[in-house]
């Protein structure tokens, strides 16, 4: 009960802030729509780590611009339920209303993810091979099969082209150790376990500069 009250307080506090911001910016006052709510939450809550319009500038935090809507909603739900564990995201998501998930997802999926520049050309070269070919010896499927040639993702498979290397590396290692276990059908856990550290770091290095449009 206490937990819920706290959530409520935080939410209404944030909402008041949102309305205030809207007034300051001279928007026509009306009952704030879900889309406006999402924009406000994005600009006040998410921005600190995920950056302007979801293009995080901090390598350990993922870029969330252009991620698939369904994927974003699923991650938020999984953070909320504890299926995906994160000490950072858990309290943030606990302060959100589940009704906000869909509009946040719509907002961020509509933003453009800006790729970075591959820092390590040599690793990126080997990573490109893993991305398109996988590893036949160890049975690592090629990433391209689900995540598409430009890493734009598709259906339940998220956009990965242009993502921070540090984040991708961490997630693959988390899948391999099953610290992250909210993947569909265990696919990522199975395949990440089959990858060497070099393969993980190389494919992450390749993804940094992959412009998924």
């Amino acid at each position: 009960m206490i937990h819920r009250d706290k959530n409520h307080k935080t939410t209404s506090g944030r909402r008041a802030l949102g309305i205030a911001a809207a007034l300051v910016l001279g928007w026509t006052f009306a009952a704030p729509s879900a889309a406006q709510d999402a924009k406000t939450i994005a600009a006040t809550v998410c921005v600190a780590c995920h950056g302007e319009n979801g293009n995080s500038a901090i390598p350990m935090f993922p870029k969330i611009a252009g991620l698939q809507e369904g994927y974003i909603v699923k991650q938020l739900r999984d953070f909320q339920s504890g299926r995906r564990k994160s000490d950072i995201m858990a309290p943030v998501v606990a302060a959100l209303k589940p009704e906000d998930f869909a509009s946040l997802a719509t907002f961020y999926s509509g933003q453009k993810l800006n790729p970075g520049e591959d820092a390590d050309k040599k690793a990126a070269g080997f990573g490109k091979m893993i991305f398109f070919e996988g590893n036949e010896e160890t049975g690592v499927p090629a990433c391209v099969g689900c995540h598409q040639p430009q890493g734009a993702g598709h259906l339940v498979y998220p956009r990965i082209g242009g993502q921070h290397a540090q984040y991708v590396t961490q997630q693959l290692k988390n899948f391999a150790s099953s610290d992250r276990s909210n993947d569909v059908n265990r696919f990522m856990r199975v395949l990440a376990k089959r990858m060497s550290d070099e393969e993980i770091e190389s494919v992450a290095a390749y993804l940094v500069g992959l412009d998924s449009k």
Partner: protein, 218 residues
């Protein structure tokens, strides 16, 4: 599909009676039966096949290295049987097993995928053998293989005999060896008998010959 199914059931019953003690290699039961009775939908099949593309490639052409077979254009019945056999453990495939378990695909999706793959064009070049089999390859194939796999490697949908034409050489070679050595447990016992005396050289020769068949006209 209904007529085909009836024919399949009769054939299956016949072979089950013929060898009453052990279950026939091509017995139609369980998931295979369910899949065969399902009217597969290629559109749903395309979506369900997506996770398979990482290995078998987007156009299901497989790998020239032979690590993963070409699936495009293969008989739907053959694909259903192989998928069902891998799920049940009758055909051992540790690399693929975690990606095809029954928490991932329903037997209906097996039918969807099979129908989708059967309809795909066999476009890409397959991995060919060295092309040095000469007349020996043809002699061996015509004597031992053609009866089931067809004169030009077209196989038989009704009898679950795979199309071997346009398949990758290294995949053919690997599977022939698995079957000869008893490692592919879902093989037709008649085939094991026939190729038991094959030397490595014989296997290479016949795999080389099969890999040279162009995609059969449908």
């Amino acid at each position: 599909m209904k007529k085909l199914l009836t024919l399949l059931m009769v054939l299956s019953l016949w072979s089950a009676v013929a060898s009453a003690q052990t279950p026939a290699w091509n017995e139609i039961k369980g998931e295979l039966k369910t899949a065969l009775e399902t009217k597969g939908d290629p559109v749903r099949g395309a979506a369900a096949f997506e996770p398979c593309q990482g290995c078998h490639r987007q156009d299901a052409s497989g790998r020239v290295s032979g690590a993963y077979p070409r699936l495009s254009g293969q008989h739907a019945t053959v694909l259903m049987k192989q998928m069902a056999d891998i799920r049940s453990g009758r055909r051992s495939n540790p690399k693929m097993e975690p990606f095809i378990g029954d928490h991932i695909l329903t037997p209906y999706e097996i039918a969807d995928i099979a129908v989708y793959l059967q309809g795909l064009p066999i476009s890409k070049e397959n991995g060919k053998g060295p092309g040095t089999c000469g007349v020996t390859g043809k002699l061996l194939y015509d004597k031992d293989c053609a009866n089931c796999h067809g004169g030009v490697g077209e196989g038989s949908a009704e009898k679950f005999y795979p199309m071997v034409a346009a398949q990758h050489y290294r995949y053919l070679l690997r599977e022939v060896q698995f079957i000869r050595d008893g490692d592919r447990r879902n093989a037709n016992p008649d085939m094991i008998k026939v190729i038991k005396p094959y030397s490595t050289c014989d296997m290479e020769t016949v795999a080389d010959y099969m890999s040279q068949f162009p995609p059969p006209q449908k």
